[in-house]
């Protein structure tokens, strides 16, 4: 099949490239090897170019020659574009013969439509070469073209004045709108005006809100509450699957919320120094004596306790204060 493809190509394109394709076809016909082995041979034969500069120079010289040739050939081939995929080999810039051979071998190794794959591969190669050539040649030229095409946008003097003056004036009334360039602002934003649309009331206190709130609070009657309860009871359908059951449990409080928050229900807003430095609560006690000694021990123990809140600790200390004040007469006797 590969040989048939190549032979048809050979028939239809009597150009300079025929020599190479003939060689390829001969090789294909001669060898009783599998297409894969041929592909491997071809890839192995392809030499790795160490010096890239030489190759560039070669390519450039070959390009210059081929461009002159292709201009003549291009005008001819454009007319014959819809003729067939097999003519792709001849059209446009001629490809590297080794690449052509490799492409044909690859196409033969693939199980799909070989003619089509080969033509597609060759087209891709051609596109690749074109892009590389373009990049090598015309960097600056293309940029110049692009810049020349770009047009300079001109501001109208009135708009410019509006913008500058808008920036300068900072007088704002309570709504955040500017007083002075008001008429200009309406002109400058032609498509969107500032006064259109619902007000968000971010900067003004909306006077109507508290009225609405009062209304809603005073109105619900017992019947309304009962109705709401009934609706809630009806809409609470039994869970259809495990996920809904878990959701229900989480709402009830049976299941914890994940990721687990260790500090759920524990809103200790006090800083660490309020927990540890409790001496300021000891002002009501005598400065010396066993009671002070005792209370200092109490404070030491409380400061080390992470489970109590500051309020609870202060309550402990206050209880002791009260207790000792009640027992004052007793203490005086001692």
């Amino acid at each position: 099949s590969t040989s048939s493809v190549v032979s048809t190509n050979k028939d239809k394109s009597p150009a300079s490239k025929d020599s190479t394709t003939e060689g390829a076809s001969k090789r294909h016909e001669d060898g009783a090897e599998t297409p894969k082995q041929k592909l491997l041979d071809i890839i192995g034969d392809m030499k790795v170019e160490v010096s890239y500069r030489k190759k560039l120079q070669q390519l450039k010289t070959s390009e210059n020659k081929n461009q002159a040739v292709n201009k003549l050939a291009g005008t001819d081939s454009e007319a014959s574009v819809p003729q067939g995929t097999t003519e792709d080999i001849q059209r446009g810039k001629p490809l590297n013969p080794e690449l052509v051979k490799a492409a044909s071998a690859v196409a033969s190794s693939l199980p799909l439509n070989k003619k089509q794959t080969e033509s597609e591969l060759l087209a891709q190669l051609r596109r690749h070469e074109e892009t590389t050539d373009k990049q090598k040649k015309g960097g600056t030229i293309n940029i110049r073209n692009v810049i020349s095409e770009m047009a300079v946008k001109r501001q109208s003097p009135a708009q410019r004045g509006a913008r500058i003056s808008g920036r300068i004036s900072l007088e704002l009334d309570e709504d955040g709108q500017r007083i002075r360039p008001e008429r200009w602002s309406s002109q400058s934003f032609d498509s969107r005006s500032l006064k259109v649309g619902k007000r968000l009331n971010i900067f003004t206190k909306a006077s109507t809100e508290p009225e609405h709130a009062l209304k809603t609070v005073s109105s619900p009657t017992i019947w309304d509450l009962e109705f709401a309860k009934e609706i809630a009871a009806i809409t609470a359908q039994p869970p259809r699957n495990g996920f809904e059951e878990m959701i229900q449990w989480t709402k009830e409080g049976i299941l914890w919320e994940f990721p687990i928050d260790n500090e759920v229900g524990m809103e200790d807003d006090a800083e660490f120094h309020e927990h540890i430095f409790l001496e300021k609560h000891l002002e009501g006690f005598p400065r010396e004596g066993p009671i002070r000694h005792f209370m200092e021990l109490v404070i030491c123990g409380l400061s080390k306790n992470p489970y109590l809140s500051v309020k609870q600790k202060v309550e402990h200390i206050e209880w002791f204060q009260k207790y000792f004040e009640e027992k004052k007469e007793l203490l005086q006797e001692i």
């Binding site: 009934e230 066993p290 002791f320």
Partner: protein
């Protein structure tokens, strides 16, 4: 009219789905002993802080002994059920006072029953 129709619909729906509750619901304590235990727990919770503070005064080598004796008298004046020693960890379902595992608050018989029916999460018959 619309409200009345909605009301009837709700009533009908309610009869179809009588509060779905797959868990066991007990609205009573299993026996009187369990009730007494519950009362003791509540009282102990109320007086826990006081007992702690008075005991802190009593078990002290710094304060004078007279003060400690007074504290002794005070703590004995508290209700008898306020001491935590009188609380017994009974089984929650059967009120069995002995053979209760603390983690599950269940007696060994109930625990075995539920574990065999695969109703205890993470509990498996041991085999090694």
């Amino acid at each position: 009219m619309a409200a009345a129709a909605l009301w009837w619909a709700l009533k009908a729906a309610r009869q179809v789905l009588p509060s779905p509750c797959p868990r066991q619901v007990r609205s009573y304590h299993v026996d009187w002993r369990m009730l007494r235990d519950v009362k003791r727990r509540n009282v102990a919770y109320e007086h826990a802080d006081e007992r702690l503070r008075i005991n802190a005064i009593r078990k002290n080598s710094i304060l004078p002994k007279e003060l400690q004796e007074v504290a002794d008298k005070e703590i004995s004046a508290l209700p008898r059920d306020s001491c935590p020693v009188r609380i017994r960890n009974r089984c929650v379902l059967t009120s069995r006072p002995r053979g209760v595992k603390r983690r599950w608050r269940l007696s060994r018989i109930v625990f075995r029953h539920f574990a065999d029916h695969a109703q205890m999460s993470g509990v498996q018959r041991a085999m090694w």
